[in-house]
Amino acid sequence: MAESVVTNEAHNGEPGGPEGEATRRDFIHIAASAAAVGAGVMVAWPLINSMNPAADTLALATIDFDVTKVMEGQQVVITWQGKPVFVRHRTAAEVQRAIADNTASLKDPATDQDRTKVGHEPFLVVVGSCTHLGCIPTFGTGDYGGWFCPCHGSHYDASGRIRKGPAPTNLVVPPYEFTTATSVRIG
């Protein structure tokens, strides 16, 4: 041990490195520390990444649904990626009101046309979890002809847009498309 102390002292007083100036030894320290940090990140990453959604979870990403099952004025709740999805067959009056409200004062502006598919306007497909803290809103009890979240009092209109309450954004329209005239693929 005594020997290594001597060696260290010898290097600390390295020629060409007066007090306060960077020495080759400082460079080695910094390089070694940086390498150690890099190695630490490389070790940590697989651990952190293991907590991301697994392949089998991701495999459940799409579902098909036959919209003819939903009568006019009715709403069917299906599960997509573990989340409830509302497939709502809106009445003509609801569609009319939703379009009329395009010009209302909106917290998260979006037109009803943005939120539905051309030619399938009666069908509204939204993720049925409140954008505030994730409760499931109930249809028909809100002030705006749409949903109301009982947890913290958010009101959504017939297009699933946030109109009143703490929720920051509209009910999310999941990525979906009509694969046939009567069938949608969500995801």
């Binding site: 991301n52 959604p53 979870t57 803290l133 994730g134 009092g153 920051p168």
Partner: protein
């Protein structure tokens, strides 16, 4: 770990042999003989009570884990199996679930005691900060544990709390999915919550060791709040063992009686009936409320109309505790000698209870009677929404306005020269000064 000189003398041959190789007996003896102020009252027994609470939670938890199944399909049934079929399983589970509540009762008393007697002030800042770390870990552990039975409140509590992360701008959504291990709360979430719920108590244990290390380094505070001068140490200090082991032991006994009353006579009084309904991702319970000990923070979350703002306020409510030692400007530690701050302190305690009450109520519900007054911005003035906001305001004002400014303006009562002075009767007992009037407040 002991901040005082060792008085341990190894007696037997084995002790002498061990003392030069692994001085563990010396460590224990020094640890237990810590010189402690002789005037500690019963509010000071909660440290020992908390240690026992942690041990109870860890031990019952280990045995519960032997029977618990951490899958969405099996969790609820396995908890019911523990209750019905496992030998003494009902006792283990009720001790564990009520134990969490007892743990929080004790920690709140412990923290309020520290606040009252100024135990966070120099040189004890690290004890306080480590205590705040423990408190935060306790909240996390309790939340994770509450999810495990996979009842309705478990599921929806997890949904709401993990959604808080989603409120963070930009990174919220990916972090939320990472945290849950999928797009929604599911098997992956339950599994990792179980893993972390098992891990965190041991982390708490580690921080408790640091908490005690800091305590033994900077020394125990006392109700008078003065540092005990070296020359009075012999007169004013007594060894922790046997004096305080006995006192703590007696307090622990009383505490355990209360604990037992809950476990044996009203084991579900502090829980929520909805958690005996299996989790259903397609149906939200009528009202989602956290366990009682988190209600004040839940109330603060809801007081802010903005989602991210609410999350920030809730975390700030805990975060402000970490900087408390630097917010209080008063040189006087104990509020016994701070007549103004003491009143604000009493309001602070009441305010905390009001926040808890608010957290249990629907924001739109009226506070008094069943009438409405007038609408102020976004809610009726006679609603829990506004009561919560006023209480939230006082909570923060206490820390960032009252403690800094009252400390500068307040004229404290005369502080005794030693901790013996208020006890020894007569005005001439010590220095001819009037005995501290605050003594009647225990």
């Amino acid at each position: 770990m002991s901040g005082h000189e060792s008085t341990y003398v190894p007696k037997t041959g084995i002790e002498k042999w061990l003392d030069t190789r692994l001085p563990i007996v010396r460590f224990g003896a020094d640890y237990m003989s810590l010189p402690t102020p002789k005037n500690l009252n019963y509010w000071y027994t909660f440290g020992a009570i908390l240690t026992v609470c942690l041990m109870i939670q860890i031990i019952t938890g280990i045995f519960l884990a032997m029977h618990y199944v951490p899958t969405t399909a099996g969790a609820f049934a396995s908890v019911e199996r523990i209750m019905r079929d496992v030998n003494g399983g009902w006792l283990l589970r009720y001790v564990h679930s009520n134990g969490a509540s007892m743990f929080f009762i004790a920690v709140y008393v412990h923290m309020l005691r520290g606040l009252y007697y100024g135990s966070y002030k120099a040189p004890r800042e690290m004890i306080w900060i480590l205590g705040c770390v423990i408190f935060f870990l306790m909240i996390a552990t309790a939340f994770l544990g509450y999810v495990l039975p996979w009842g309705q409140m478990s599921y929806w509590g997890a949904e709401v709390i993990t959604n808080l992360v989603g409120a963070i701008p930009l990174i919220g959504e990916p972090v939320l999915i990472w945290l849950r291990g999928g797009p929604a709360i599911d098997n992956a979430t339950l599994n990792r919550f179980f893993s972390l719920h098992y891990l965190l108590p041991f982390v708490i244990f580690g921080v408790v060791v640091l908490h005690l290390w800091a305590l033994h380094t900077s020394g125990q505070n006392n109700p008078v709040g003065i540092l005990i001068p070296k020359d009075r140490a012999k007169k004013d200090m007594i060894p922790f063992h046997p004096y305080y082991t006995v006192k703590d032991g007696f307090a622990l006994l009383l505490f355990m009686i209360m604990f037992a009353v809950f476990v044996f006579f009203m084991p579900n009084a502090l829980g929520h009936a909805d958690n005996y309904i299996p989790a259903n991702p397609l149906q939200t319970p009528a009202a989602i409320v956290p366990e009682w000990y988190l209600l004040p923070f839940y109330a603060i979350l809801r007081a802010i109309p903005d989602k991210f703002g609410g999350v920030v306020a809730m975390f700030a409510a805990i975060g402000v505790l970490f900087v408390l030692p630097w917010l209080d400007t008063s040189k006087v530690r104990s509020m016994r000698y701070r007549p103004t701050m003491r009143i604000f302190y009493i309001f602070f305690v009441i305010n905390g209870l009001i926040l808890g009450w608010c957290g249990a109520k629907l924001p739109d519900a009226p506070v008094i009677g069943n009438f409405t007054t007038f609408t102020l911005i976004d809610g009726d003035l006679n609603s829990f929404l506004w009561l919560t906001r006023f209480a939230t305001l006082y909570y923060f004002a206490f820390f960032v306005v009252l403690l800094p400014f009252v400390g500068l303006k307040e004229i404290p009562l005369r502080i005794p020269l030693s901790i013996s002075e208020p006890v020894l009767s007569g005005p001439d007992a010590m220095s001819g000064a009037v005995p501290a009037q605050a003594e009647k407040k225990g």
